[in-house]
Amino acid sequence: MSTTTPAAPARRWPAVPGPLRTGAGFALAAVVLFAVAPAVLSDFRLGLLGKFLCFAIVAAGIGLAWGRGGMLTLGQGLFFGMGAYVMAMHLKLADAQVRGDAVPDFMSIAGVRDVPGWWQPFASPVVTLLVVLLAPGAVAVLLGLMVFKRRVKGAYFAILSQALAAALATWVVGQQMLGGSNGLNRFRTFFGFDLSDPANRRLLFFIAAGTLLVVVAVVRQLMRSRYGELLVAVRDQEERVRFLGYDPANVKVVAYTVAATFAGIAGALFVPLVGIISPSDVGIVPSISFLIGVAIGGRDTLLGPVLGAIGIAWAESSLSESFPSAWVYAQGALFIVVVGFLPGGLASLGGVLRRRGRPAERVPHEEPDEPASVRTTEPEKEPVA
């Protein structure tokens, strides 16, 4: 079949690293997060890094849903906000209880004497944690089934998800019982731990760091599994997958739900770490910001979204200290350059440079077999690795 030889297979840096490199990577990340960062960063900077880790947790989910599943999740603020507000309500109730007040401080200022009924379940830490872990995912399952079964995709899905994040932000602004546009803030304790104690704040950072490592491990497993291969197939050829007997909607709902769950967890961690949650943390702008880090880092890789999110958040906070108004332009310019010239994100930079460096080199390829049907003799069964 000499007429049909393919082009040489391009050796590519694997998007998901193998077991050895993964083990080394996790060990390195653990050392950096649990030993180096607390040693070299001030308490304030460590808290900032903790906030960035929350964004990274959201980003890991977006990497799965968008990078691998092709769903442009422009509205993760919705799920982030759900997790955050649920946690914030619990913290406010717990603070009031510690001080012996009937209602959280901002409610008594507003003259409210009784805790509203829909707040009451969140007095329980168990209920709070369950809602944080399950509610965003449950909403994502319902939304996902409605949207994907009707074959809504592409820009329509992106606009829809963004509209939902905007709707949540708008709704919260009107809710005096959620602090309106000021949001909920001034949290004093976290499950009984005093939040003004630096040791406890460090513990919070460790919780965020540990959560991020678990989230990355989950995403890695999903990417390497058969499901991960199927998800890429759905991203690239949704209709074709249908003709192989799968319902692509179900495949997409899984990734969307995982991403939503991660966003909700990140929101719940964000609240005690940062000390405030307001509508401006859950609306359109933060939803887009989540995405920018993912795009710049490299959306279809395992670590690109995580490192991109941390890097962008870090750059934002340090550059906006020196040039308060310039950062927005720098971020926009970076986004345009990456999307326009490096669609695979910074993670693909190495591969692009390598290809530039040695364009002539090609990996030798094997001659393809002929179909067994035209062989003159029965082919020997060779073990396939």
Binding site: T4, P9, Q221, L222, R226, E229, R240, L244, S373
Partner: protein
């Protein structure tokens, strides 16, 4: 190009009317009609397809060949009846029809280009896998996938990204994807379009091999290819079946000749008839 004569046939070759006797799997289409905005693309099509019959579906452009396949596989809404060995297919969802064993390919090869040949086949083989299996890694190559890799001649390219396969190889991969999915009705839409002569020959042999145990329908424009490999032929024109039978019967049918006259294929077709 030796044509198969009855004396050289083995028992498992595709045969006119099928080769499986009374226990045959079948696909029975009755009164199939498809209407697009008032335009009747397919009208009252009846087809009876038996296991082991390599059926070719031919006809001029716009005859409704692809639409018939689209209707059977649930891509376009249709009226009528499609019965696969006792199961009604019309009205079911695309993926349910696929799961019942009806597989199809498309005019343009649509493999998953970012995935390897092996990953493509593994996905095609896995519609019935449990969630638990899906969430784990692919442990190795399943025997049925290794077998199909051999059948379609891509065993040495198993780890190659499907996007860089040659056109013919992509079509073989598509056929392989139907085989590992245990489809027993294969609807192939112009599988040899754009292939070299050599590739056509190989594809034809492949179809004969797989057609022996399955019901295979091939939509084709290439008359040479049809004459060489078809065991039976259905001719569509303007959405209707105008002739059906063996290659010789169909070629001798005056209605078929009439349909092809006046079209661009006419000169070629009459020349072919003269040469045949």
């Amino acid at each position: 190009m030796s044509t198969h004569t009855p004396s050289t046939r083995t028992e498992r070759d595709p045969l006119f009317g099928g080769n499986a006797g009374m226990g045959s799997e079948y696909l029975e289409v009755r009164g199939l009609s498809v209407t697009f905005d008032g335009f009747k693309a397919v009208q009252d099509v009846d087809l009876t397809l038996l296991q082991g019959d390599l059926r070719f579906l031919i006809g001029p452009n716009g005859a409704g060949k692809t639409t018939v396949i689209d209707a059977i596989t649930g891509l376009v809404p249709a009226t009528g009846k499609v019965n696969k060995s006792g199961t009604q297919l019309l009205g079911r969802k695309t993926h349910q029809i696929a799961r019942s064993g009806v597989g199809r390919t498309f005019q343009t090869a649509s493999v998953f280009e970012e995935l390897t040949v092996l990953q493509n086949l593994d996905i095609a083989a896995g519609a019935g896998r449990s969630p638990w299996t899906m969430l784990r890694r692919r442990p190795g190559v399943e025997p049925r996938i290794a077998e199909v890799l051999d059948t379609i001649g891509l065993a040495s390219l198993a780890e190659v990204r499907a996007g860089i396969l040659a056109h013919g190889q992509k079509q073989w991969l598509e056929i392989g994807m139907l085989l590992v999915g245990n489809a027993d009705v294969l609807l192939l839409d112009e599988p040899v379009a754009g292939m070299s002569k050599e590739e056509r020959e190989q594809t034809g042999q492949l179809l004969r091999r797989i057609g022996a145990e399955r019901t295979v329908v091939v939509v084709e424009h290439d008359m040479d290819f049809m004459r060489q490999f078809a065991t039976s032929v259905t001719v569509l024109a303007r959405g209707r079946v105008i002739a059906e039978g063996s290659v010789a019967e169909v070629q001798a049918d005056p209605r078929v000749q009439e349909v092809y006259l006046g079209t661009t294929a006419a000169a070629e077709y009459t020349a072919e008839i003269g040469g045949a």
